[in-house]
Amino acid sequence: MKFAFFPGCVSRGACPELYTSTVKISGILGIELDEKALESASCTGAGVLQEKNQLLGDTLNARNIALAEKQNLPILTICSTCQGVMSQAEYRLENEEYRAQINETLADEGLEYTGKTPTRHILWIIVEEIGEKKFKSLVKRQLDGLRLAPFYGCYLVRPSKALKFYEKPERETCLEDLTEWVGATVVDFPGKTACCGFPIVTINEKASLKMVGNHTSTAKDLGADAMVTPCPLCHLNLDQYQDRAAGMMKRKIDLPIIHVPQLVGLALGLDPEELKINKHVISTKKLLTEISLKP
């Protein structure tokens, strides 16, 4: 399985551990990542650009996808936000007239968007493509006893129409399913599909912190050892701002937030350090002791 790798801005910026762990697990999972195909790609716009100009945002995403199509490769993403924004663009580009309008701009660079191979998040690829049987056969370290709270990130759950939940209902529970495949226990809580507060952290920090505090403390009080997320933006807010949120609530929370590829890596038997699991603000030491791995 070969993919055009779209790492997104955050895995090359504030979350380098996500990039590293993705590359580490891909080899073992039989996923080949082409890092050249999208070298001239742009940011997806993360929904922010689309606030001002949807046509511009959709054109940039169509261009990115067309760059991959030119190499005959589907795109693999590792960020809920990148994925959601691209899925939404793909959804709107199903309209023929709109597609023609955008292709007119792309023609300037000799590109054409067809949409024949939809973009997918690595979590979806694991669940849909690799599947339970094959994945479980690759698991070297059962994470029994570990209690994990899922946290999807808005863009991987809404709008369900653009994410094609009606065609692929497994997408609705993919994070819980993966958690069970690695042998861990799912700590279900209502906040799992809510907003982490990241988009307003520089605009309205207090409201954002309340979201961080509510989600992490609820999961912690339900007995979670860690929270696992396919979205690096959620990771940033829930990890980096957790102490401040705890301070606001006048309590301790201390809930490690781990990326999906790090969880997969642990289950595949990789060393925690290779997965840079020590590179988080909220310490993962206790978590690693829990699964008898030296931090």
Partner: protein, 321 residues
């Protein structure tokens, strides 16, 4: 005669009555025999009429026109008259709760006062300019067609129920009121566009939304409140009502992508807060230090796209469209 299949469904209802259980909520489970064509509302009415007459719920038209019967089904706001039981039941069970973000009066009936207060706060009526015409205030058809979607709002409160910001911030105007505000701001006959936008810039206005898309997902009438809020944001920036962190964030983000192809997070924060805004930047310092200690600080000079020029070209072509 039409053949229908019956089965028994377990309906768990979150109940609350000021006179029972010290006013605390409690869940009660009912086993209800239902037909395969039942909506959730049909089942609730059956409970009230045949099993437990004390159950409170609100409904009127039963045809998704009146907007009275919004409730949470399995954690998500829905018009229960429009929701087929067979679509939402899992293993023959469902959970029904009152709408969120509003106080409960009794069982599934919520107090919509906060909803109406916010609606009224955006002055949901036309404020035309100039001389009063002899007949109606006329508007060209083309200028009104795009407003049909937002005029479909039946004020059911589903979007407000599930809005993630309202959960943590009471004074947010919320999706329904903001969508209504857009309906007048985008109406060519309205004369107070600028003042309306100025009011929406304040705390509790358009920049509070996190773009979580809950309102888009749950709205039974496809009003797409979030999209309206985004249109209000760009109208606000167009009108130079942009001396706030939200507008600066949106503008800096766009500029960075335009010039670099991809995002530089450090520059984004610096530009949003303002390079010389020492107080705000100092507040961010502890966060930056803890990230640095963990080895997570984003590189100041981040990567850029290999074909920046093409991206700039696309911006030039489309940015004013």
């Amino acid at each position: 005669m039409l053949q229908t299949a019956k089965k028994t469904i377990q309906i768990e209802i979150k109940r609350q009555d000021p006179e029972i259980n010290n006013g605390e909520s409690y869940n009660q489970i009912y086993d209800v025999e239902v037909e395969d064509w039942f909506t959730v509302l049909d089942a609730l009415i059956k409970i009230r009429e045949e099993i437990d007459g004390t159950l409170s719920l609100r409904c009127a038209c039963r045809a998704s026109i009146c907007g009275s019967c919004a409730m949470r089904v399995n954690g998500q706001a829905k018009l229960v008259c429009k929701t087929k039981l067979s679509v939402v039941e899992k293993n023959n069970k469902i959970l029904v709760e009152p709408v969120g973000n509003m106080p409960v009066i009794s069982d599934l009936v919520a107090d919509f006062k906060p909803f109406w207060d916010k609606f009224n706060a955006v002055e949901p009526y036309l404020k035309p300019e100039g001389e009063v015409p002899e007949g109606e205030y006329l508007a060209p058809n083309d200028d009104m067609v795009h407003l049909v979607g937002v005029m479909n709002c039946i004020m059911c409160g589903a979007c407000v129920s599930d809005c993630t910001v309202l959960e943590v911030k009471d004074n947010f105007l919320g999706p329904a009121a903001l969508a209504k505000s857009y309906r007048f701001i985008a109406d060519p006959r309205d004369g107070s566009q600028f003042e309306r936008l100025q009011n929406l810039e304040k705390d509790g206005g358009i920049w509070d939304c996190t773009r979580c898309m809950q309102c888009v997902e749950v709205c039974p009438k496809d009003v797409d409140p979030m999209e309206r809020i985004m249109s209000l944001r760009s109208k606000s920036i167009e009108n130079k009502i942009d001396k706030n962190y939200g507008a600066r964030h949106a503008k800096s983000f766009t500029d960075l992508i335009k010039n670099n192809g991809i995002l530089n997070e450090v520059l984004l924060i610096l530009r949003t807060k303002g390079l010389f805004n020492i107080i705000e930047l100092a507040k961010l310092l502890p966060i930056a230090i803890s990230a640095q200690l963990a080895g997570k600080r984003p590189p100041f000079f981040s990567h850029s796209s290999k074909n920046k020029n093409q991206i700039k070209k696309i911006f030039k072509k489309l940015e004013d469209k």
